[in-house]
Assembly symmetry: C2
Homo-oligomer: 299 residues x 2
Amino acid sequence: MAERIGFIGLGIMGKPMVRNLANAGYKLVLNSRRQESVAEMVAEIPGAIGAATPFEVAKQADVVIMMVPDSPDVEKVVFGEGGLIEAVKPGSLIIDMSTIATTSSLLVHEAVATRGGQSLDAPVSGGDKGAIAGTLSIMVGGSAEAFDRAKPIFEAMGKTIVHCGGPGAGQTVKSANQIAVAVNIAGLAEALVFAAKAGVEPAKVLEVLGGGLATSRVLDMRGPGMIKGEFTPGFRIDLHRKDLNNTLATARTQGSPIPVTALVSQLFDAASSAGRGQLDHSGLLTILEDLAGVQVKDV
Amino acid sequence: MAERIGFIGLGIMGKPMVRNLANAGYKLVLNSRRQESVAEMVAEIPGAIGAATPFEVAKQADVVIMMVPDSPDVEKVVFGEGGLIEAVKPGSLIIDMSTIATTSSLLVHEAVATRGGQSLDAPVSGGDKGAIAGTLSIMVGGSAEAFDRAKPIFEAMGKTIVHCGGPGAGQTVKSANQIAVAVNIAGLAEALVFAAKAGVEPAKVLEVLGGGLATSRVLDMRGPGMIKGEFTPGFRIDLHRKDLNNTLATARTQGSPIPVTALVSQLFDAASSAGRGQLDHSGLLTILEDLAGVQVKDV
């Protein structure tokens, strides 16, 4: 019989991930900040049970997955009142699939190791669509032994599963991913606004750029929405801001300046200040439109 | 019989473009700053003749193509001593395939129109490889009538030929292209250096980013060289700097701030100051490596 898995965090990502684990035959112990979410999933999934605290989850399951919004949430789940760390023992495997600061991630790895347990950081990309379809990309940091043990579990939730290196390496590669996506969005946005201000039809820009070295998945996936002024998420500006803030903090700590990312993060901040934090991250375009006094969709 | 074409500028791009025009059956009148280049091509191409000045070229050919390095070169060819403008008359078609500032391009359009001629700006991408293979992307600005007349000529030199809009639109879209390429390079460079500083193997970064929203043609084409520290051009940093300088000048004139491009252009300037202007533009990576004190290829 498959292992019993604890799962903490039943949000927009956590719920479909739990469903995929259940479909793969895993028994589940669930906990979430919102008690209604636990009740809902326990009612939906035969055999799933709820637990009152992260500590109670870890008491009943050797493998515990966390999927919560940010570093403070992970630290609360692990180290706070009713936190799981006191239940960690040799044989425990703690998998943090949240996207958080590498420094927080390393704190968790260290605390789990001190108690003789195993741990992985395993942030994902692919969004709620990928979570529902079970096609997430999973970037994993930690020991090869822990990775091998977790692999079948990851395979229930994701498609591209890469062991990136030791503790923190998953968060590092996720940060690298968020850097490249944010900067590519900014580059395409500046290209479109520059051309629009000169009166060139944006569709021509996508046509030419899409055929050469300038092209990107961002252009393919978000370009058509950007030239129509459609910014339905997708991945929200405020979430990308959170990831970039963590990345910039880590960059500062480890001593690797990323000036272009820092500037792009300021533009995301401007979008949030303008009340657009709930737009898709390609909505960064609107800040450049404001600066230039032109709307790409009107050209 | 095919039209006689004047061609001014026999550099690394001009020579192969002239060969492709000759292969398509066009008669040629050639001029270049370096007299040796004219002599070489006249010797090589049966029926091609040399002309002492741009004026003499335009006297002998209704269609004249320019392919020179930058705005001052174009302005000299058109308006300087022995410049072609005095030979422009109704029926003339002046095609500038150089990548220059939109403001310079508009000056040429205006002067040619004043004398009753037609003109196109038609910068290219695809580099010397594309010029040799006859697969350039050609971005064209000017009237539909002039575009239709020039189309068979473009087809001898390029593959993707797009009429982007009125006068200057070709330069505008080329600028948009150079913006997106430069910024995508910077984004990938920051992602790689950030991860390398954290000790993560760069190949893992390319593997994960290459499979998701972060991927780009830059990642596919330049990523493998970047993680090996190989920066053989390709397209040189100093040429990309020139294009970004023109783009920034135009952006300032037309009132469309492009702050991310401005910062990336400063990083290209830094690369040039460090004596790396002859590296491929992906060599921008080395400036971020310097800032972080890490070499991606050594991780």
